[in-house]
């Protein structure tokens, strides 16, 4: 067949023709938000004409960009961004996952316990959780532990949702509370520190860029998985019309378990990077991460009603998120404002999504 144009029953169509991708809108929003911050930097008297992203003194790092701030922006969204890749899939499938933040806390604690060194500056590790036999283990051990905990937590979420028909909101809320409790119970609230060098490299390697590389690598992988595999197609189909998916023979329950399990695994990976980057694990790690992750996905155009959205959108949403947070710091506004504006942006993104759906329905 020719890819360009076909006539069927007298009408022609363009096989390549696509609707304006929603990711374009998100990208335009990103550019617009950057422009607003740049403009504010120029017009606000106390800013003295500072720029958010640009630094025309090329002597510093050889570019016209402020690489330091750029790195901060991307780094600070990478770890939550890994969670957001999972949230994207869950939300596209028509669900919601409130547990990743707590799963991050629990996974960080447990995997760090398997990543400790025996000796710190020649003295025994003051934060040791296990005995000598569990010290200085190969780095693969804490990695497997982290993946296993994430997968387990996700699978429990998925099984509860698929087979007991508890709404995802409730099932994952239960996991959120339980996993946080387990994180605190694990070391009776004590922080766990002093990992081996290879473990520390996970989140600090590549001149500090490794969280970004891991985030982008996972984003590319799951972009491919969502777009080009049966798993991806069924995820969209279930979120779009669960009954239709069931009637079409898709094993909806089994599929949901898989979606939540993958989201859990990504939360485990996120914890691994976070604990490694900070060289320590604390029971309070990851609090509210799930909400930031959901915010990134919604800003990126993923519909809370399911069936719509993409990883590309979520990555752009994460960048918008990072730019806004850094932008507030750069404008020297209080952290309180940051949170208030973050809340407003989430609501605005949902309103926009509903408006878009309303328009699509009116056309149909």
């Amino acid at each position: 067949m020719s890819e360009t144009s076909h006539g069927i029953g007298g009408l022609t169509f363009d096989a390549k023709k696509r609707a304006w991708p929603n990711e374009m809108n998100v990208f335009i929003a990103l550019v617009a938000i950057i422009a607003i911050f740049e403009l504010l930097g120029q017009v606000l008297p106390y800013m003295n004409g500072q720029s958010l992203l640009f630094d025309f003194n090329t002597a510093r790092d050889g570019t016209i960009l402020n690489m330091v701030r750029l790195k901060i922006i991307i780094l600070q969204v990478s770890i939550i961004g890994i969670i957001a890749i999972g949230s994207t899939q869950v939300i596209i499938s028509g669900g919601i996952d409130l547990s990743p933040g707590s799963v991050v806390g629990l996974t960080a604690m447990v995997s760090m316990s398997f990543a400790q060194t025996a000796l710190v500056n020649g003295n025994p590790n003051p934060k040791a959780i296990f005995g000598e036999a569990f010290m200085d283990l190969p780095v693969i051990v804490p990695i497997i532990v982290a993946l296993a905990i994430g997968i387990l937590a996700g699978a429990v979420n998925g099984l509860l949702i698929a087979y007991t028909k508890i709404p995802p909101f409730i099932a994952t809320l239960g996991m959120m509370v339980a996993a946080r409790g387990a994180a605190k119970w694990w070391s009776k609230g004590q922080p766990i520190s002093f990992p081996t060098d290879p473990f520390a490299d996970i989140g600090n390697g590549l001149a500090g860029w490794s969280p970004v590389v891991i985030f982008i690598g996972l984003a590319i992988l799951f972009h491919f998985v969502l777009k080009y595999t049966v798993y991806g197609k069924h995820t969209y189909a279930i979120g779009s019309n669960e009954d239709a998916a069931r009637m079409s023979g898709i094993k909806v329950d089994r599929h949901k378990v898989l979606v939540y399990t993958i989201a859990g695994m990504l939360a485990g990976l996120s914890a691994l990077v976070l604990a490694s980057k900070n060289l320590t694990a604390q029971a309070g790690m990851g609090v509210m991460y799930e909400l930031d992750a959901i915010a990134m996905t919604v800003i990126g155009g993923v519909s809370l009603a399911g069936g719509r959205g993409s990883i590309v959108g979520t990555v752009l949403g994460a960048l918008i998120f990072g730019v806004i947070i850094s932008g507030f710091t750069y404008l020297r506004l209080d952290a309180y404002y940051q949170e208030m504006v973050k809340g407003a942006i989430i609501v605005a993104a949902v309103v926009l999504d509903q408006w878009r759906r309303g328009r699509a329905a009116a056309r149909g």
Binding site: Y228, T229, V230, Y231, N241, A244
Partner: protein
């Protein structure tokens, strides 16, 4: 019930495009109760290869319930379904599809946010590399076969890459029907396919049904549209309050619309279905 079956088998096929005498689908005593609601009671039904049979009846007569029992959407309370010569117990609609029954359900089983090929191949995607759930989709093959199916059925869709949500009711219905035509089925079932459509869209669906008839594919058509049924079908089976109350061969032209209405409303009942009165 054997007398009823004899009666059905003895249907005279001496005129018109005679379907072969071979039976493709038979139900015996098919029954479905929803708690106390006897939605379907002792349905004995026979469909021959190449035959187009209409199912008519008032709202709530049990037509959709009958369809759901045959297609594996629900589990029947009791009774037998024999399809293509062997008793079947479909666990789900996919089982029925694998066996060769394609159904256009009354509530469209389409995913709004997906495009036409995605919907046509929903649940049975073509893959070019098998990897369990992560098998790689073969988009190109699915597009090509979609175009083939649309051409075969004469369905007009301006842009197959557009999402279903942007299409009119008629186009959506045509996609659902094209889906059944894409796969070589042994039996097609349509539950009120034109109930929500305009005149032109209805004509288009009827053309598809005629194409199926020419190709000798058997069809069960649930419809309220008397003209449509008279035009397209060989036989009308009338349901009333969960029971079959008439089995009317309409090819000879001896049975009028008024007769059928009389059976639907309960003014008349065929003697062999006296217990439905």
């Amino acid at each position: 019930m054997s007398d009823v079956q004899t009666n059905l088998y003895s249907t005279d096929f001496s005129h018109g495009a005679a379907p072969s005498g071979e039976v493709i689908l038979e139900t015996r005593g098919l029954t479905k109760h929803y708690g106390g609601v006897h939605a379907l009671q002792d349905a004995n039904f026979i469909l021959h290869k190449g035959e187009h049979v209409a199912i008519m009846g008032d709202n709530g007569a049990g037509k959709s319930t009958f369809v759901r029992q045959i297609t594996g959407v629900e589990t029947r309370t009791r009774g037998e379904v024999v399809f293509d010569g062997r008793p079947v117990h479909f666990e789900n609609p996919m089982d029925a599809r694998d066996a060769g029954i394609e159904t256009v359900f009354q509530t469209l089983a389409l995913a709004d946010q997906l495009d036409v090929p995605d919907n046509l191949f929903l649940g049975r995607e073509l893959v070019k590399f098998k990897l369990g759930p992560f098998s790689i989709l073969d988009y190109k093959a699915m597009r090509e076969r979609t175009i083939g199916a649309l051409e075969k059925t004469g369905v007009k869709i301006p842009n197959i890459r557009g999402t279903i949500e942007r299409m009119s009711g008629g186009q959506r219905q045509c996609v659902a029907i094209a889906r059944t035509a894409t796969f070589h089925s042994k039996l097609t079932i349509m539950d009120e396919p034109t109930a929500a459509l305009g005149v032109q869209e209805t004509a288009q669906v009827e053309n598809i049904i005629r194409t199926l008839k020419e190709q000798g594919e058997p069809l069960i058509l649930v419809s309220h549209n008397m003209r449509q049924v008279m035009d397209l079908c060989d036989r009308i089976v009338v349901f009333r309050r969960g029971r079959i109350c008439a089995n009317l061969d309409i090819r000879a032209g001896e049975i009028s619309g008024e007769d059928v209405v009389a059976y639907i409303t309960g003014a008349k009942t065929q003697p062999e279905y006296a217990d439905a009165a």
